[in-house]
Symmetry: C2
Subunit: 353 residues, 2 copies
């Protein structure tokens, strides 16, 4: 199947990991492990010449295919890929913004189910990403290790017995692992308690970021909680830090939801129904506004205000309303005003009364 066809297919549905049907799915969307690895014998990215960068791409691609680590794999040379397709992959969290917008030779290999994505020449030569809905951290870690082991059988990574895996940025040295959990926290945002929660999270060696990682906004009230340091910590330590923190955040979010519903039922019902009304009515809608309304509607569905609403549809829409998806669905670049109209139409067609 041609890449463009694969991309087109993606733009019409959400990956399993975002369908929000996993455990604790009222608050926990997905969990992700990312391992940073570098090839022995090559300089790190900042000092990697173009020719050598191409060599890294070729060698890693070959080795990964040989390792059979990625089932049903799709290989994309990002330099050959139209910007619209790259944007779509960013929105699906299959590649980072940095990888999408780089100049060097770079690629991504991902599994068709989107649970696995291997970025070549992002900040490190290789970044292995494993995604899973819900909060099954052990399963996730096991899977990440399995991929890592398979690849390591056919390639040598830069490794120091004293420091662990060596990485382009020292903050990743050691396990090279970042464990992130994506959470939907509309009630904490609404009640303005989110800052307090974030302070608590920061004091637990964890960090909170927006929907697309470092420096990005928390669109649709989605937040990623992840470990701050890797050096001097084992993979199990990191997992333990996250496993301790996330249930507390989940509880805080649920407590506020419950309080809102029991103490301000009319207010919250009004907010939820109006948000749904706007989504079902708008003829033009920017993505940020759509995300905002979808967030309130998702909250409403989970606190029992919209029992007949299909939450999976709402979860899918979070992805489908984004600019890259909207344009891919139309098969062409659209101006902002056109996008907002196509988006509104798409939302109406999915959220029929």
């Amino acid at each position: 199947m041609k890449i463009s066809k694969v991309i087109r297919d993606l733009s019409n549905r959400a990956g399993d990991w975002l369908r929000g049907t996993g455990g604790e799915s009222d608050v926990v969307i997905s969990s992700r492990i990312r391992l940073a690895r570098n090839l022995e014998g090559f300089p790190f990215l900042p000092r990697l010449e173009e020719e050598a960068a191409q060599e890294v791409v070729t060698r890693l691609t070959t080795c990964i295919e040989r390792s059979l680590a990625v089932p049903d794999s799709i290989v994309c040379d990002l330099r050959e890929m139209p910007s619209l397709d790259r944007l779509l992959l960013v929105e699906r969290h299959l590649i980072s913004r940095e990888l999408a917008n780089g100049d060097d030779p770079r690629s991504v290999i991902f599994s068709r189910d989107e649970a696995l994505s291997l970025m070549i020449n992002e900040e490190d030569h290789l970044r292995i990403q494993v995604l899973k809905q819900g909060l099954e951290l052990e399963v996730l870690l096991e899977k990440a290790r399995d991929i890592d082991d398979r690849i390591e059988k056919v390639v040598r990574f830069s490794y120091s017995p004293k420091l662990g895996y060596l990485t382009s940025c020292p903050t990743n040295t050691g396990t090279g692992m970042r464990l992130s959990v994506m959470l939907h926290l509309p009630a904490l945002v609404f009640s303005k308690e989110i800052e307090r929660v974030f302070q608590a999270v920061n004091s637990m060696n964890l960090t909170v970021r927006g929907l697309y990682g470092e420096g990005t906004q928390a669109s649709g009230d989605f937040y990623q909680v992840s470990n701050q340091v890797t050096l001097g910590k084992s993979e199990e330590d990191i997992l333990e830090d996250v496993r301790r923190a996330v249930p507390r955040i989940v509880k805080a979010e649920r407590d506020v939801r419950e309080a809102l519903v029991s103490e301000s039922r009319t207010m919250i019902e009004d907010k939820v129904w109006r948000a749904l009304g706007m989504l079902r009515s708008a003829r033009t809608i920017p993505s940020e506004e759509a995300m905002e309304f979808l967030s309130i509607v998702r909250l409403g569905a989970h606190v029992g205000i919209l029992p007949d609403l299909d939450v999976v549809t709402v979860n899918e829409l979070f992805l489908l309303v984004q600019p890259g998806h909207v344009q891919n669905l139309q098969g062409r670049t659209l101006k902002a005003a056109e996008r907002d109209q196509v988006r509104a139409e798409l939302i109406r067609s999915r959220l029929v009364v």
Copy 2:
């Protein structure tokens, strides 16, 4: 039929004059003539003692009933009337706020079709009000004169051959007539051209006021255009001033509507559909917000964006969503929060998808 029952009946429907089915009903809601009259031999209101004021009420009520000027008449002693019922009569324009909230003996006599209302001891001893939907000014004037003549057959009004009818406030002296046309001007408000139009109106000896007359806000983009002076002008002069001005305002409003639809169709469609979506979704809504959305929806219906919507329902809702109506419909005083919920429910039940 008991007054309370009459009032209760009113709270569930709009008077014919507000149904918006008359000529030019896309912009012109209704026309109104008010004649100020005072009984000979009694001081004007500011100097009228309570006992004499009661005498004015008794004498005028008797004379009006004897004159048969008001068909199917309902007589209300406002001192005996609960404040909620008085509020409802204000909202229906059957009495003024001043008459509703006065201390003196005062009454209103109105016809069941609400086309005719006679206020006793408002600013003058008697104010005759004739209402009609659309812009049939001649018919309106003929009707006002007829009522005036009938009453004058059985009572003597203060009159000076030189000045005309004498009134409590000198600005009304002469014909004692105020002719007002209620207009719906959402496009002029939206395009911020309304101020320019008002300046033009003011230069034509006319004045513009809000929904409930002097000093009131223009809720729902409704404005009343009326003559400024009566002294030295004949009834025909006044009618001519209004007849010259109103079509210009109507044209200005229609021009802007047309421009909006042809130049910014998506924007205006979006605005209209969202307003309807909010009305159909809200679980709690203050009256000002409801009026604002209804105004946009009414505009949408008249420019062809909502061809299936029943405009009469929308016109009725402008009246029914107001605080006095909402409370009368429930048959009791409601707190603001309760009112907003009852109002939202009422709107949803009338604007079913």
